[in-house]
Symmetry: C5
Subunit: 367 residues, 5 copies
């Protein structure tokens, strides 16, 4: 059998997409060794009632799929290739869809298949212990009465509020169909970018202060770090603009006109996120300029200290050298007030130079 050589870029998992050995058959799945074991949760609801069941095996959800109540099948972790293939059978997924869902990360996109709408999205969650954020792929497969969501890992999920709204019949979600549920999850994914952006806003604000008042090499590293991460963020959000726009524009029969109005609102939020990312990138890029200028300013200051000190002492050191010479005939040395006269001369020179530098403004701290 073909040995699948899967490799993945080591660079902080930031900028890479998934790839397998060139020439591999399309639809080949890749399961990471450290992938979490799959956890399958079904939430089935209609206006009257909502139930939550943890499913043992993929086939358990078949009875729910065709009933008129909305069935949300949420799969977290895909560490078991067999289960994934059975999921593929249960939901009749095209082999390329299964590949996209599992071989993460893919570029966010929307694709329509027979009676199914497949949405690949990217979710971000702020890291709590350290600076930066996690990103995770969420795949949504929307059918008429069901929604399948596949997440890489069981943690870091921004859908808790949506589950609460279903459970407690909050808002109109229980009165609506699977398309509204898909919208609600997409909206939660997009809204999840804002806290991350807020964090970057604050970090840039701190860097602005730091870069002017006391720029250090660490500051430089931090600015570069922020630029790197904003690039990642842009790559996560940019294609989602296209995919939500596709949902609005290419009226799919699976999405009701009513939900399209809500998606328009969601699209506005994507634009806002993009807007902020671009603004922050421009600010970070401007910070780099400020940093370089600021370092030059400090060098200027150091040079001024050196120049003032050197320029004041070098001439008078020369003078004392003169009277340290051992010539037989040096009339000044014999004068009674010679020593005093030299001091007076030297003090005049110092006074003159200090006045000269003061006139040039070299003693002002700010310049």
């Amino acid at each position: 059998m073909v040995k699948n050589v899967f490799s993945r870029q080591s660079q902080g998992e930031d900028f890479d997409y998934f790839f397998h050995a060139p020439g591999t058959s399309p639809g080949t799945l890749r399961i990471n060794d450290d992938a979490a074991p799959p956890k399958l949760v079904l939430i089935d609801y209609n206006a009257a009632e909502a139930q939550r069941t943890q499913l043992e095996k993929p086939e358990d959800c078949i009875p729910y799929l065709d009933s008129e109540s909305v069935s949300w099948v949420d799969l977290q972790g895909f560490g078991d290739e067999g289960v994934m293939h059975r999921i593929g059978n249960v939901f009749q997924l095209h082999p390329l869809v299964l590949e996209d869902v599992i071989n993460v990360p893919q570029r966010p996109k929307v694709e329509e298949y027979d009676g199914q709408l497949v949405i690949i999205a990217q979710m971000v969650v702020l890291k709590t212990s350290t600076a930066g954020f996690w990103s995770e792929q969420v795949s949504l497969v929307l059918g008429q009465f069901y929604l399948l969501t596949v997440q890489e890992e069981p943690e870091h999920d921004c859908f808790e509020q949506v589950r609460f709204r279903i459970r407690s019949n909050k808002g109109s979600i229980r009165q609506r169909g699977a398309d509204y549920l898909a919208y609600a999850l997409l909206d939660a994914i997009i809204d999840g970018f804002f806290p991350v952006l807020e964090d970057y806003g604050e970090r840039i604000e701190l860097l602005e202060t730091e870069v002017i008042s006391k720029p250090t090499p660490q500051t430089l590293e931090k600015i570069h770090q922020v630029r790197r991460e904003l690039l990642r963020l842009r790559r996560a959000i940019w294609p989602q603009r296209e995919s939500i726009n596709t949902l609005i524009r290419d009226a799919s029969p699976l999405i009701s006109h009513d939900v399209q109005i809500y998606l328009r609102d969601c699209y506005d939020h994507v634009i806002q996120v993009l807007d902020m990312v671009e603004t922050y990138r421009e600010l970070a890029s401007s910070l780099m300029d400020v940093y370089l200028s600021s370092v030059s300013n400090r060098m200027n200051e150091i040079m001024k200290v050196l120049t003032v000190i050197s320029t004041i002492f070098i001439p008078i050191t020369f003078i004392v050298g003169v009277y340290g010479m051992n010539f037989k005939v040096m009339p000044e040395l014999e004068w009674h007030w010679g020593y005093l006269a030299v001091w007076i001369l030297m003090l005049s020179i110092v006074a003159g130079l200090v006045y000269f530098f003061w006139r040039r403004g070299w003693f002002r701290t700010d310049s």
Copy 2:
């Protein structure tokens, strides 16, 4: 009940959009604790007469809405969630519209609903006490015979001239409908950008002088500040270009052909504002380059002072050192004119070096 966790970016309120906890139900309102209490003013006019009434409660304006006279309901401040919901009922606003109106700031846009045109705009007002400007969201809801405007705060309003024109029957405003009123307000909002831009033009002009003649770290900070604020300004004006263009292109039945000609004029002004913002941004960006070069120039000058002084004194200091040595046999020390000869030697060296530097142009102040 769901606890709504509202957060907002602290960074000078500049670059952030509104967001709530990811997953919150759409249409959820957020009222800031420090939001101003609502103030409701009705101006009702036709060609014959105009009256101004301060309304007690939202329902008071119902009788005016369907009459053929133009009713301008101006709501300033929305510190009371109950009042806002009643406004929503009186004007039959879609929940998403109410959310956009209240959860400020939103990105400027135009949306059409049944018999209503919703325009979200951004108004800027120059700060008087300090540099910079305030920005405030103004939402316009245009019906056939009424216009509802919602402002964040009661102060900083650039509509005074429009109110005056209605009151004193100045121009043709009283002969025209609610669509012309909406145009007049939009035009006032756009024209309100010009004084702010004029201020930035002057600040950039001052910085241009400063950056060449005496660049300080404060100059650097000011340039960065201007770039930041121009980014904000661009973000406020850019989407308004789209929204006014939408108003012109997508002929809504609520906007008469006549008013569209006026909107075309308003569109020209938006383009002018954008033009100036882009020009100022390029100038500010060029200033950063000039700053860096100017700092390098000053360092050059400092270095020249140091080099001239050092280079002149170092050789002659060496010479006096030579004749300070205590060797038994040093013939020069015994010569009668030795001391004088040394002085002549040293003065020749100084003269030579001064000539050398003068030839290189190091004494010219400009280079």
Copy 3:
């Protein structure tokens, strides 16, 4: 009555558009106090004859407007609000057109009204006494048998050649209609950009020499100045591309097919102007980089002088210091050839260092 607060940006009149107090009624005119008094000249011609009349009052041109001969009404200066309103009446101008014509500068554009084509253009003239150029708005109102042109000031007019061609029946201008006249004037306006650009080409060429051979802070200022003015120039020419393109594309009944071929030629010239402006901007921007590098190069040279001098004298100054010490027991001092030996030692050190620097190429003037 409303007090019209007109303000205008002071910044060299470069980058500003006209604006009045936000909320002012559209169509309000603003007459600068220092605006030139209006001068009204009529040139009326057909293939057979051409006459030139200085008109006393606007109404004098009414009889000419409907005759089949081409009537060119040229108004220079608009310092009299009353006259302007009467012009508006005579030519039946829409209030917004009158505002655009008078409240200069406006962004160049083309607009069609009933039986009239309004073209707002921007004319540039090289300053003779100093560097830079003047820009002035020219508005053209084209009717079937007449052309009204409005210029800000009576001086700096690039239409003299066109007047000559009419007067002397040179070329085909007398055989053609008002549309050809409008083309001829537009073509003169566009061709007027070339001498200005030629001047900038020469200034950039001079700066290129200066920046490499002897960069001074003044050079920096000049580069920034050129960039500023090229921005202005681009702002003047860019919208004219659109407006001439509009004239060609949107076939107006007022413009014959024949003249459209000439406008295509005029469009080519606009593209050429834009091309040169962009090229010069890129060159000026590259010059800024060269400047910074050049300043660094000079600092390098200064540093080398300092380093060479210091490094040569510091060790030998130390040596003479050693033999200036007053220890009781210093055998070298007693030697007969001690003094000579020290000189030999010092000269060897100097020779070694000079060789070291020569090897590093520090004495080559170019590096």
Copy 4:
């Protein structure tokens, strides 16, 4: 006969396209002297069986071309002009196609001829011995039942996996037509970019560490090298985006609807490659800024060492000079504790200066 003057840019073969002497007849072939001799392999398969034959001469494949089984003719190396012309005859190639196939490298493109689809692609393979990658042109000529591929050289081929899938009947490739084979090869070519990009990701990551911790001139050279090669990579991948898009959009009868879905997947991968290339380019560009700042930081540090040492010793060296003077009357010299007093004075000065520098933070290693 015309002497064909073929020249080729020497610059590492990186950025050049093929060209011959201006004016040469189109369709003229150019065979490099060092081109590999042609090797012709036929793989003929259907669902039931697959055979692989090494062909002696081009004409040997004629019997296979019209049979319904898929015939993949793979030509590696084209060092023999006669063979190339016979290939052209066998496959009835248009002279311009033959020119494009042989005069490598051409810009990747797709062109349709009678019953043939010609795809010019660019394949990259990571160099193993040194940094960088090889690129090689692969031309695909797709007919109804055959696919001709032409490669520059017999080595570095990323099609091995595809050959294995045919041989071992892995996946659905044997059940499908020549269009699917073309897709499979294109997909292998695109997937071949990922290992190269992974390598650049790692190199950039290493450079990021190096540039902050210890920037050397070699670092600068490496950054420039990476930027150069990313430019090459972009030039190889960018036109392939267009050509695959063309394949999807312009439905050719040679490509079944089924295969178009697979091509859509391939298009996604091209976008991902482009995405990564652009991201890496931005990172490399940002690294250049970081480098310059980092070098300035190190210069700052060197300057601080110099300034601290000079500033501390210059004043006290002056003092010892004072008491080295030989004036007759110098009271301090006679004092018993004079020598001690001078030491105390000098130590106080040093202590004061050290405190001054410590306050300014010059002893902190990071600033």
Copy 5:
């Protein structure tokens, strides 16, 4: 008569387009005083025979124009206004066409007139004596059975190969019409850009080595020069992309379908030229960054030499100063081993400092 004031930009003739005095009548010709006298060559051919005639006067070619054989009239140099007007009459050129053909340089373009296709192209030829290239305008007027080409000067022509192909019946050119001839010349013009680009590739490669190993002010000048000339090159090739695209897209009856396939090939070459120009521009721009960093690196090195020398000698020079003082009571001076002890002290200090600098890596040549 109107005095035509023709001026032309002096700046190396690089970036300027032709212009005459604003307001001049369209169709006015400008003949440079130093323009070459016209030389008129006719090549008339069909499949059977080809003849070449040097014509005395323009009217001589009239008999050939309507015959079915292809007549190529090649005019080199236009120093005689009368001849030019007669050419205009013979070929019935529109006055604007004659102006474009003669008032060089014009922006490359394609225009269609009654039964004529006018192509303005720009030809480049590498300078042999010095760096850089000449550019020259070539105008092509294509009729049904003839092609008129107008070149500025008789030298530097890249059509020799085409003439050879006609003469020796090489390729299919003799079997084809005037449209194929026009294609062949355009193709020769475009292919003429490759040798120029190859030269720039080599110059950039040399600069890359120079900028890293030994950057001098001349390097800076050369980089700027290359950027300037690449700008010129881009301006010459960019509009030709549009014009060839126009030829392909707007099917003119004068161009057969067959020749359009060849033009598509020519279009590919234009894209390749543009591609290389853009790549070289990015490389040159990156070189400027490398230059600045490289100069900073060298300054760092100079500073290190200065700092090492100063820091080592300054402390020990202080010490020898101490023992040069003339205090009555200085116990160390009396010690027998005092002098030796001082040397030991000084050598320890030097050793310590050298170790300190060695630890910091200041002696490594690369950092």
